[in-house]
């Protein structure tokens, strides 16, 4: 009994770590490759989650929805919606210093949260959307292990996509922009355009993560998309894992989500009157963890290893 309990906890733990890994991979595209500072992850996460939820729920008179479309269509909608938001933000900020992107992105994330919270007809406001269908309903795989499998498939798929992008000439331009913008511009690259592409692709991946989250959690409310849960923890994951390294992003997601979950086990033991204090203590811990990593090991657990140049490999053979 104990063992099955632990096993089912582990399965749900890994499922959520997988969802966060998708978000961290999306952020890696923006920050790790290109050096774009997006701290509006929660916004893209929320847009993806709500789009997928509205497209797939059986419907309710209280809010927009009732399309009852299949899981994959919902995810597709999530990706499209977050792509659109990404294009808008990207077009505004691609020419500017990354500090402006930071400010604009946190702004859009707060606006999206405000909108979801206040527009009841769309999102049922603070009451949230419940009863979002599970991905494999009606098949024998409609079990927690089955969901984990689906998430793993998506994480692996996104991983190969971004890894391919990283090694490609396109990814090389992104890294060049990150390392030395004037030199890249002098080499004739359209910096704003490359930035926009990377930003939109990263945003689309975050939207996908949001869609996955909606289907595995089954319930959405604006509270889930506060900057802390949506944005900050993904940043800590990427920095801890090693920004620029896709494997690092996945490892960081598992490790940091592990720390976050273990601290929850401890704070759950506190008496109820200290519950809010316990929650604050956990945030404090994650915040301090980030600062310690930044000071002591800024390259993260798995530092970035740029692929060797193909020409040089040939010569050495």
């Amino acid at each position: 009994m104990e063992l099955t309990g632990i096993a089912s906890y582990l399965v749900s733990f890994l499922t959520f770590a997988g969802v966060y890994a998708v978000l961290a991979l999306g952020l890696n595209m923006q920050w790790g490759f290109t050096g774009q500072f997006n701290i509006g992850i929660a916004g893209f996460f929320a847009v993806g989650a709500y789009t997928s939820a509205i497209l797939t729920t059986p419907g309710s008179p209280a809010y927009l929805g009732g399309f009852g479309l299949p899981f994959l269509v919902g995810l597709g909608g999530a990706v499209i919606a977050s792509t659109i938001i990404g294009v808008i933000i990207g077009l505004i900020t691609a020419r500017l210093r990354t500090d402006y992107l930071a400010i604009a992105s946190i702004g859009i994330a707060e606006m999206i949260r405000l909108f979801i919270k206040n527009e009841d007809w769309l999102s049922n406001g603070v009451r949230g959307i419940a009863g979002i269908p599970r991905p494999l309903q009606g098949t024998p795989l409609d079990t927690p292990l089955g969901y984990l499998l689906v998430v793993v498939v998506f994480v692996v798929g996104v991983y190969f996509l971004v890894e391919r992008a990283y090694a490609s000439p396109w990814g090389r331009v992104l890294r060049a922009i990150r390392e030395n913008e004037p030199a890249t511009a002098a080499a004739g690259k359209d910096i704003a355009n490359f930035r926009l592409q990377a930003f939109v692709l990263g945003s689309a991946i975050m939207g996908l993560g949001g869609g996955l989250y909606a289907h595995f959690f089954g319930f959405l409310s604006p509270e889930a998309f506060r900057p802390l849960y949506g944005t900050f923890i993904v940043w800590v994951m990427l920095i801890a894992g090693g920004s620029g390294n896709n494997r690092g992003a996945i490892l960081g997601a598992v490790v940091v989500w592990g720390i976050w979950s273990v601290t929850e086990l401890f704070t759950d033991m506190l008496p109820a009157e200290h519950a809010t204090q316990g929650a604050a203590l956990r945030v404090l811990l994650i915040g301090v963890l980030l600062q310690v990593i930044l000071v002591l090991r800024p390259q993260g657990l798995l530092p970035e290893k740029p692929p060797r140049l193909i020409a040089r490999q040939r010569r050495s053979r």
């Binding site: 701290i39 020419r95 500017l96 400010i103 946190i106 606006m111 940043w235």
Partner: protein, 289 residues
């Protein structure tokens, strides 16, 4: 008409709060070249420091203000020495991440120490003056003091920047970092003074916000977006622009309640900021892009 005048008064009060925050953000950006995301939580911590002085020594909110400002200046310098100084040599964008983490650290500290419930400086309702010669608008003494003290603090910052050696050094560093450094300006001292001023003004903003409304652990975080909007509007790195930006954003946010629901007040600040980023990213006063 009376409605508009009344909202203008509220707008000037909010504008004063935002100005206090935006001057700090602007100066920190000018000297250290990063957007300080913990500034909203500096405001929160400043407000709660004020609360502690009020309850511990029985001071009134106005006397707690200088105490909170001094306290927050010390905290700001401490945070800089312990954390930011160590990562200053890397890219400025790393400081951006660190300040974002610092924002959450400070907020959770506030929750741990003071709890997450709403609190206020003084109980009871303050009776406003009715100004019949101005169409009968109502003016609370608190509001008048907030605007006047802000004005005084702005004057003090202005005198510091234009009349003292350190203030001139600060402007020089903000204008041209390399030139300032080769001419022997004591960079570490200037940075420390920047944090003293930024922290003290953030505390003032927090205490004003606490006097005007109430204290809550996310009060500063919610004000951060309008503060940034004010900073960008005035031109990043331009303290004088921050004043204009703060007032414009504050008045527009309050005026907007005439046409759209009050819940969307922050959206007005955001919309102005986005419009500015598209049309004139360097701001009214031509800041650093």
């Amino acid at each position: 008409m009376t409605d508009i005048l009344q909202l203008l008064v509220y707008g000037l009060v909010l504008g004063s709060v935002l100005t206090m925050g935006a001057i700090g953000v602007s100066m920190i950006f000018g000297i250290l070249r990063f957007a300080h995301f913990a500034h909203g939580d500096f405001m929160t911590l400043g407000a709660y420091l004020g609360l502690t002085f009020i309850s511990a020594f029985g001071l009134s909110a106005w006397w707690a203000l200088p105490a909170a400002m001094v306290g927050m200046a010390v905290v700001a310098v401490f945070i800089d020495q312990v954390l930011y100084r160590r990562i200053r040599r890397t890219q400025p964008v790393i400081l951006l991440i660190a300040s974002f983490g610092m924002a959450l650290i400070l907020r959770s500290l506030v929750q741990l120490i003071w709890g997450s419930d709403n609190q206020s400086y003084a109980t009871g309702i303050q009776f406003p003056w009715r100004l019949d010669w101005l169409g009968g608008i109502r003016l609370k003494p608190d509001h008048l003091w907030i605007v006047l003290i802000s004005l005084g603090l702005v004057m003090a910052v202005h005198l510091f920047l234009t009349r003292t050696r350190l203030g001139k050094a600060m402007r020089a560093m903000s204008d041209n970092m390399d030139l300032a450094l080769v001419s022997g300006i004591p960079a570490e001292r200037v940075i420390m003074v920047t944090w003293v001023i930024g922290g003290a003004l953030a505390a003032a903003a927090g205490v004003f916000l606490g006097i005007d409304t109430r204290l809550h652990p996310v009060m500063g975080w919610s004000a951060l977006l309008p503060v940034f909007a004010a900073t960008i509007l005035g031109g990043i790195g331009r303290p004088y622009g921050a004043i204009a930006g703060g007032m414009i954003i504050g008045v527009s946010m309050e005026m907007s309640t005439l046409i759209i629901p009050a819940a969307y007040k922050p959206a007005v600040a955001f919309a102005i900021m986005v419009g500015m980023l598209i049309l004139r990213p360097q701001g009214i006063f031509k800041g650093t892009v």
